[in-house]
């Protein structure tokens, strides 16, 4: 038996992005020196939308980068399927920038650890802030988000699915009870 609940719909999704963009501008007191980096795949689309919103608020261009963390994963060996390596495109110098690192779901924190290591190999940002759309708990590393779209307490058996128009039919977030969780990760 699988139960699937929509916890964020298209309107909620848009509101979350708007609010997160405003929060960044407020906390960073503007957007000077600001750049965003999204983690593939959905963090990347999220980053583009948030950057567009900040540009709208502050009327200045925000550099956007895309990060693929495959080479920095801590589970590269031991997996049966080989994760697909994709491109990293950060075409600006991150040194000295205030970087907002963006991912869709924060879970164990291992992806963020990998992303931080990857960024450190590319330069020395002045600071890195973490933004996630969903924080579902169950951290395995001492990592916390600075900007959160929604906190969703979950059990280990549940799955969070973030859908985005760029890839899926709609903008939405689903919470489902699933035995297949371990397979999906």
């Amino acid at each position: 038996m699988m139960k699937k609940t929509k916890i964020i719909d298209a309107t909620g999704f848009q509101r979350a992005i708007n609010r997160l963009a405003h929060e960044i501008v407020e906390k960073e007191k503007g957007a000077e020196n600001l750049a965003v980096v999204g983690i593939r795949t959905r963090g990347d689309f999220l980053a583009r939308r948030i950057a567009a919103k900040i540009e709208e608020i502050e009327r200045r261009p925000i550099p956007v980068g895309t990060l693929d963390i495959t080479l920095y994963r801590d589970d590269l060996r031991g997996r049966l399927d080989q994760p697909q390596l994709q491109s990293t495109q950060i075409l600006f110098d991150i040194t000295g920038k205030t970087l907002v690192l963006i991912d869709d779901v924060l879970f164990t924190g291992r992806t963020i650890r990998a992303a931080l290591n990857a960024l450190m190999d590319m330069g020395r940002p002045a600071e890195i802030q973490l933004l996630v759309l969903i924080d579902r708990g169950h951290r395995e590393l001492p990592i916390k988000a600075d900007f959160v779209g929604k906190n969703v307490p979950t059990s280990m058996k549940q799955t969070i699915n973030v859908l985005m128009k760029e890839l899926d039919d709609e903008d939405a977030v689903f919470l489902s009870d699933s035995d297949e969780m371990e397979l999906k990760r």
Binding site: L71, Q82, Q86
Partner: protein, 306 residues
Amino acid sequence: MKLQNRHLLGLDGMSKEDISAILDTAVLFKEVLERPIKKVPPLQGKTIVNLFFESSTRTRISFELAERRLSADVVTFSTAGSSVSKGETLKDTARNIEAMKIDMVVIRHPAPGASHFLSRVVDANVINAGDGGHEHPTQGLLDMFTLRDKYGRLENLKVCIVGDITHSRVARSNIYGLTTMGAEVSVCGPATLIPRDIEKLGVKVFHRLEDVVQDVDVINVLRIQLERQESGLFPSLREYHRYFGVTKEKVSKASKPITIMHPGPINRDVELSADLADSEHSVILQQVTNGVAVRMAVLYLLGTSN
């Protein structure tokens, strides 16, 4: 994305999907090589041994760089021209590799099939870095990568390999790889240096360079192995240069610009004129740069598949 074979022994029989997977992955490593820190961690904790039973500078350095940039631990062993009976040396080497818990082996050996032999007796992933006159798969891959980078495709690209085809592992790997990817491959050289039944591999044979330049997009010039000059397969270097040396003058007769490749090291003004090697049509140095990215891709794909 996982390759069908856990070793890279040759391009003979390798699928189009696998070749494309390696070339696509190499694009991503080329980006890594442009970062300020050109090192990534996926092979951390893996030990790779480079066994070079035949002299090599560029291939050995290229492999070592690729391995180190993937954070592997690297040991290089080279013996140029050892007179020990090869079969026995290799078997002993294999036993030692097993005993030292090595994860991957890169081997260059004068005997064709040496890497195949090694792959049957060790658990480690084996990569052929050139086995006699048989194959040199990473050279074939980097040549294809360089062409795909320049033309955006390999299908229907007309490539002629010029020189000593019979003794060339570079020619063989290029022929297997390029024909699989849909390129039109031809060869050109003195009749004594072209295998008699080469057409069976799906290539066209030219005996005159003048005919080649009217037909092709790319000329891949092979090194004339000077050590073979004694064997009487061609009369003299001067005569070779006159008929088969690729020069600016001969290439200028073509109706479209021709891209010049060479696996190195060049005998300047023997198989390739110096002015052409240094001209804007030459991609020889790009081949060297791309070699590191392509080898990183191969090592990564083999080293992280379980």
